[in-house]
């Protein structure tokens, strides 16, 4: 009976209920999205690099180095000498190195010059290696390995020929048309910037920057050593033992033959969080305020309806309804509206994530899961429900009081 009453009563006030529902829908959606974004951004960034002990690059901010070398965001301020890579490779505590050379693009996707060590040692997520969906590492000068998203959104397949341009951006005025690349491998999706990267060899990066005639000469003579780069952007370093991390970091920072800086990825990521923590808090605060406003709206709606409902409540009292029943009826209506709004908000946000996930990953490098449900999210929704009950208690007590002393006749 209570369920039927709640339903009929809500339906009978559909205009005000709809407006209250919409305002709750907007605020709960906001709250849910902010929470989802917050947890997912952290997750998305944290999974980007794993198993790398040091990132070595030109002296700049720790955060900056991390951003351009791993997240492919912004431009490197300076390069380091190729000899420094050789120095690191020879170092006794170093297990492996991955040189990174950035600065070129292909149709809006970054081109990364590296070595085949990248495919062997680069790890993301929970120390997962990157894996090939199709094809292989590069074996000749103009081989390119595509990230999953590059292949998918540009429709490239194994064996396709593509052209790489100098500079970053979609329409670079200087296209290296003379250096066509050949797709030899396509990687499996990782949910990291790797998916949006084209991987070529370090020599290939040199090749697209030298004069066409010189390049023709080198290819004709097969004297590929001449393509050895003088500079690279950064180096990812894996150590034999983690114990050597700080020793090597100090040695790198004090290296005399080149201006170098080494950062620990974890430390730099932490800096990123500190930067984002206040932003996060602000977003949470704003969405909490918006929710508060809609809950006030809910209270207002219920309170305003109490006047017109005093008659109905008197009728119920006369029929033998206990004051508790009346209290329960009002509370149930509020809970019903909030539950409906919460479920709709989750559906709405999930839907938006499905639609927007491609755009978000391409534009902002955000790899968001479309699965909203997490423990935090459930706790959050539970809190919303509790605060709704809290805000409905006042109108309900008003109804309870009215019911107790209902003046029976007019």
């Amino acid at each position: 009976m209570l369920k039927k009453l709640v339903w009929k009563s809500v339906v009978s006030r559909k205009k005000t209920v709809l407006l209250t529902f919409l305002s709750l829908l907007v605020s709960i959606s906001l709250l849910v999205s902010v929470e989802h974004l917050r947890s997912q951004i952290k997750e998305s960034f944290n999974r980007t690099i794993s198993g790398t002990d040091l990132i070595v690059g030109a002296p700049t901010g720790e955060l900056n180095l991390l951003l351009y070398s791993v997240f492919r965001m912004g431009s490197p301020t300076n390069n380091i000498q190729y000899d420094s890579l050789l120095m690191l490779q020879k170092h006794r505590s170093v297990a492996w190195t991955i040189p990174l050379s950035l600065g070129d693009s292909h149709k809006g996707f970054r081109v990364l010059g590296t070595t085949n060590d990248y495919f062997d040692h680069f790890k993301y997520g929970n120390k997962q290696n990157i894996a090939f969906a199709k094809g292989n590492k590069f074996s000749t000068l103009f081989d390119v390995v595509l990230g999953a998203e590059v292949a998918e959104s540009l429709g490239y397949r194994l064996g396709d020929d593509i052209v790489v341009s100098h500079g970053i951006g979609n329409t670079s005025f200087h296209k290296h048309d003379h250096s066509p690349f050949h797709v030899t491998g396509i990687l499996k999706p990782t949910g990291t910037p790797v998916d949006r990267t084209l991987h070529v060899s370090l020599q290939a990066i040199e090749a697209i920057h030298i004069a066409p005639r010189a390049l023709d000469g080198i290819i004709a003579s097969e004297n590929y050593n001449e393509l050895e780069p003088a500079n690279i952007t950064a180096v990812l370093v894996g150590l034999k033992s983690k114990l050597a991390t700080f020793t090597l970091q100090r040695q790198v920072n004090q290296y005399k033959n080149d201006r170098l800086m080494a950062v620990l990825p974890g430390v730099a990521l932490n800096q990123l969080w500190q930067l984002m923590a206040s932003m996060e808090k602000l977003l949470q605060f704003i969405s909490a305020l918006v929710l508060l406003a809609s809950l006030f709206g809910l209270t207002t709606m219920l309170l305003a309806s109490m006047n017109e409902r005093s008659v109905e409540i008197a009728v119920m009292r006369i029929l033998g309804a206990s004051p508790r029943f009346v209290l329960l009826l009002i509370l149930s209506e509020a809970v019903f509206i909030v539950l409906l709004a919460s479920v709709s908000a989750c559906v709405l946000v999930s839907g938006a994530l499905v639609v927007l996930s491609d755009w978000l990953s391409q534009t902002y490098g955000l790899f968001l899961s479309t699965n909203l449900m997490s423990q935090e999210q459930l706790i959050l929704l539970l809190l919303v429900l509790l605060s709704a009950i809290f805000s409905a208690i006042f109108p309900a007590i008003e109804a309870y009081r009215k019911a107790l002393h209902s003046q029976l006749s007019t």
Partner: protein
């Protein structure tokens, strides 16, 4: 043999009010119908509130069918009201967003009883000259006369021992009012209910053998604090 209604030494005052309602002794027998006349402000609502157990006297006893209401807990009083009393008011007797049938079901819900449509509701519909289609009609689509008849039906759905009726005909013209009275009294006879009929309209008094004036039963006095 207990009476249907027995009031003795009842004193009542509203919270934060100096006015005191007093009723020394009043009895209504089983199956008896009484016409209670009184202008507004003479304590009708208070009396009805006390009889229905919604208001609790400061002192004295209100017995319905041998049960003293003040001995019952709040919850028991609510249940007792649902099972033993039928109330019809001037207006506002029905929950507006439920249809007729659902209003009847609400009444049986609080009385913990089952609604017997074939054996009970349909004969009542016939006695009240209402069409069966009224059951599924929304309350807002009913005429005033229909609403009052549905209100009687709802009040009688649990075959109450006592029926309290307050100015039910004020919204009806005299012809409709006379028709209504006939139907009401017939239904009371069938259910063997005692009837307390409150009105300020003398002309309806002719339907009753026992007449009372409210001011003779109960008095308001002001206590200066």
């Amino acid at each position: 043999m207990t009476s249907a209604v027995q009031l003795s030494s009842v004193i009542f005052s509203y919270p934060n009010s100096n006015a005191v309602f007093e009723c020394n002794d009043w009895t209504l027998n089983h199956g008896e119908h009484v016409f209670l006349q009184g202008p507004s402000g003479s304590g009708k609502s208070t009396l009805l509130g006390l009889l229905s157990g919604i208001l609790k006297p400061n002192s004295g006893e209100v017995c319905i069918n041998g049960t003293e209401l003040s001995r019952l807990s709040q919850k028991q009083r609510d249940k007792f009201r649902a099972q033993n009393l039928g109330v019809v008011f001037q207006q506002f007797n029905l929950v507006p967003y439920l249809n007729t049938l659902e209003n009847l079901q609400l009444a049986t819900h609080f009385a913990n009883s089952e609604l017997d449509i074939e054996g009970h509701v349909k004969p009542m519909l016939e006695a009240l000259k209402l069409d069966e289609s009224v059951l599924t009609q929304a309350i807002s689509t009913l005429s005033i006369g229909q609403k009052q008849r549905v209100a009687i039906m709802r009040a009688c759905v649990n075959t109450p021992k006592v029926l309290l009726v307050d100015e039910p005909t004020s919204a009806l013209d005299s012809q409709a009012a006379n028709g209504f009275m006939g139907l009401l009294l017939d239904l009371c006879k069938v259910n063997q209910s005692s009837l307390i009929f409150v009105s300020h309209d003398d002309s309806l008094g002719s339907y009753f053998e026992r007449h009372e004036t409210l001011s003779n039963i109960a008095t308001w006095s002001s206590v200066d604090g």
